[in-house]
Amino acid sequence: MSSPGHNVAHQFDDAVQQRDASTLGMWVFLVTEVMMFGGLFATYVLYRSAYPEAFAAASHHLNAQLGAMNTLVLLGSSLTMALAVRSAQHGARFGTVAGLLSTIALGSVFLGVKAYEYAHKFEEKLVPGPYFVFDGPEGTHAELFFSLYFAMTGLHALHMVIGVGVLGTLAVMAARGRFSVAYHNPIEIGGLYWHFVDIVWIYLFPLLYLLGRH
């Protein structure tokens, strides 16, 4: 019978099994996320090919500059996350905490910009529903675009909020010295999740913001 350190849960034989299990678990979870976003993406792609004019016209109302800036912010946050993981692998507590906090900061910037964009859409009366107004004959299909825009970016933003929460918890744990060279898998799988959320945005940005722009 193994003599696990106090970090190994009772159902696992040893730390290696625990680490492998939690890593596999995160990958499986990310597969489910791919399927979930996939359904939304498929819906979007199908409607976009059915109503190219209306979707392009609607897309023009999005602020591509802000979207691009947000993309860079998120890419940066993936960099800081990767750095945090690397610090954790080396047992560097300060680097780990700094990396996590930077990631949280950049993620919050992203969310702040998103909130600003949403507020702006609200002012422009481009929020789908009874108060939606769109200049142009493609009104109904433009509303379809914005329904999907809010659904897709909203779901993504929700994942980011959860991610910020997870990273915050990890940062507190790291600051308290819970991680070491021997045990830092939670940071790694937290990183996996964060990178995934980033990749979703990498797809969202061109699909939503760059329609019909040359």
Partner: protein, 550 residues
């Protein structure tokens, strides 16, 4: 143990003739020890209670449906009520009984035992999945109590998003939440099976029950997220009057059907694969023989999971989808039947030169083979395009899926209950009462659903509250069968609960079955194994008289 409540103390005493022995049931007392448990076995019992309650609710709706259909006119309930009844029957039975049933109860209880592990990979996630199920069920029950929902369990748009005046949103939220229970269970099983098998337990030494749950878990994690996002879209469309699936607002109602069936077809394999795993366990035990064609049965489970994702369009042959799509879905639907047929042949071949006895679990398993075969064959009728045009959306389809779901999955579930009851509770039930139930269920089931094939070909559409007079005789036959079936389900409820207090104590291996779960006490101790077993044999290594020819 003086602070233990009287009933539990009696249970303990009854289980401990002489020496005191702790098991997972008596290891700790009190509601908190159950509601905050991380023990996969206790979580299985929590699920057992919840899904039994949901099954009773779904059956109640079925009773009302069959009573209403005794006469061609709407005497018992009004049209709107009837529409709610069949909707809620479908939703409760599919999402809250069939999908969780075997995985959440028996998968949870048995997987760690079968692979020699102390628990699943993520015990807290396991408990969370039960709570998620309960919250989802609560939302749905709230929808039922406050007026019901009448969209059909299939929620076709734009009726569900625009025209229905019932609690669509609440129900959608309930189903959305419950889906995550499925996803978490599937995730847990996959990681557990990959990472936590005992030494020597290679993939091809696993019990087929484990293979079946592995394949089921693949479907759960890949398919359920899609229904989640689909129901989410329906919910926001309804809440904010968007037009995602409403043609009046630019949406496409057929897109909803594609998204819905992309999950809901694989979902039927979630509902049947586990019971196929159960059948493999039971047949080997009561024929005292290794399974015939082990690798083929194992791989066929994966094949079913894979092909199951490629055939969703066969629910839409008359929906105006293109002819070419229809042709592709049809040929793939025929292909997906083959792995199931392979299993049936292998189970039958297992009986050859076996040493067969007919205890209740075996009766349920044999009943499964017969009824599932009919259900599967009638699926071929539906896969044939020219024929499906006629019988789509008629009682032929209703009969087909009930043969699979009830004749197959539910029989498998009851077989599992009867097979592993002694292991889970430490008690035996009355064997003769159980055999009577098995026969009642088999007879009642056929009488209920076979006439519906005839009704369907005659042209009686499904979801009909009133119907032309000439369909009455067959409907009366069906309702008569349903009463017998109902009795067949109520009887086990009685003798199984009775056995908890009065049943004979069960030994560790009352069936003398192979399998690691039978090597521990009945009921098992919380930690399952005092020492992790080391596996050296193939699955189902029942003794043979002569030297085995490999």
């Amino acid at each position: 143990m003086d602070d233990a409540r009287p009933a539990q103390r009696k249970l303990v005493n009854a289980m401990e003739p002489g020496a005191s022995r702790t098991n997972y049931l008596n290891a700790d007392y009190g509601l908190k020890s159950w509601l905050l448990t991380r023990d996969h076995k206790r979580i299985a019992i929590l699920y057992l209670i919840s899904i039994t309650l949901m099954f009773l609710l779904g059956s109640f709706f079925a009773v009302l449906i069959r009573l209403e259909l005794l006469t061609p006119h709407g005497d018992l309930v009004q049209g709107d009520t009837y529409n709610k009844l069949f909707t809620m029957h479908g939703i409760v039975m599919v999402f809250f009984f069939l999908v969780p049933s075997i995985p959440a109860v028996f998968g949870n209880f048995l997987l760690p035992l079968m692979i020699g592990a102390r628990d699943l990979a993520f015990p807290r996630l396991n408990l969370l999945s039960w709570y998620v199920y309960v919250v989802g069920a609560a939302f749905t029950l709230w929808a039922v109590i406050t007026g019901g929902v009448d969209t059909g369990w299939t929620f076709y748009t734009p009726y569900s998003t625009t025209a229905s005046h019932t609690n669509v949103l609440t129900t959608a939220i309930g189903i959305f939440i419950t889906g995550f229970s499925s996803i978490l269970t599937g995730l847990n099983f996959i990681v557990t099976i990959h990472q936590m098998r005992a030494p020597g337990l290679t993939w091809f030494r696993l019990p087929l029950f484990v293979w079946a749950h592995y394949a089921t878990s693949l479907i759960m994690i890949l398919g359920t997220p899609v229904i989640a996002i689909t129901i989410f879209l329906v919910g926001i469309e309804r809440a904010f009057q968007l037009g995602i699936f409403d043609p009046a607002l630019g949406g496409d109602p057929i897109l909803f059907q594609h998204l819905f069936w992309f999950y809901s077809h694989p979902a039927v394999y979630i509902m049947i694969l586990p019971s196929m795993g159960v059948v493999s366990e039971i047949i080997t035990c009561f024929a005292r023989k290794r399974i015939f064609g082990y690798e083929f049965i194992a791989v066929s489970s994966l094949a079913i999971a894979l092909f199951g994702f490629l055939v969703w369009g066969h629910h839409m042959f008359t929906s105006t989808q293109s002819v070419y799509a229809a042709l592709i879905f049809s040929v793939l639907s025929f292909a997906v039947a083959i792995p199931s047929a392979v299993k049936v042949f292998n189970w039958t071949a297992t009986l050859y030169r076996g040493s067969i006895s007919f205890e209740a679990p075996m009766l349920f398993a044999l009943g499964f083979i017969g009824l599932f075969t009919i259900g599967g064959l009638t699926g071929l009728f539906l896969a044939a395009l020219g024929l499906d045009v006629h019988v789509h959306d008629t009682y032929f389809v209703v009969a087909h899926f009930h043969y699979i779901m009830v004749g197959g999955a539910l029989m498998g579930y009851l077989g599992a209950v009867h097979f592993w009851w002694p292991k889970m509770t430490g008690r035996m039930y009355s064997e003769w009462a159980a055999r009577v139930s098995a026969v009642l269920v088999f007879v009642g089931f056929n009488l209920t659903f076979f006439p519906q094939f005839v009704l369907g070909y005659l042209g009686m559409p499904r979801r009909y509250h009133v119907y032309p007079d000439e369909f009455q005789v067959l409907n009366v036959m069906s309702t008569t069968g349903a009463s017998i079936l109902g009795v067949g389900y109520l009887v086990p409820l009685c003798y199984l609960i009775w056995s908890l207090w009065r049943g004979p104590i069960a030994s560790a291996n009352p069936w003398r079955a192979a399998g690691l779960e039978w090597k521990v006490a009945s009921p098992p101790p919380t930690e399952n194994f005092a020492q992790t077993p080391i596996v050296t044999e193939e699955a189902y290594s029942y003794p043979v008289r002569e030297a085995e020819v490999v």
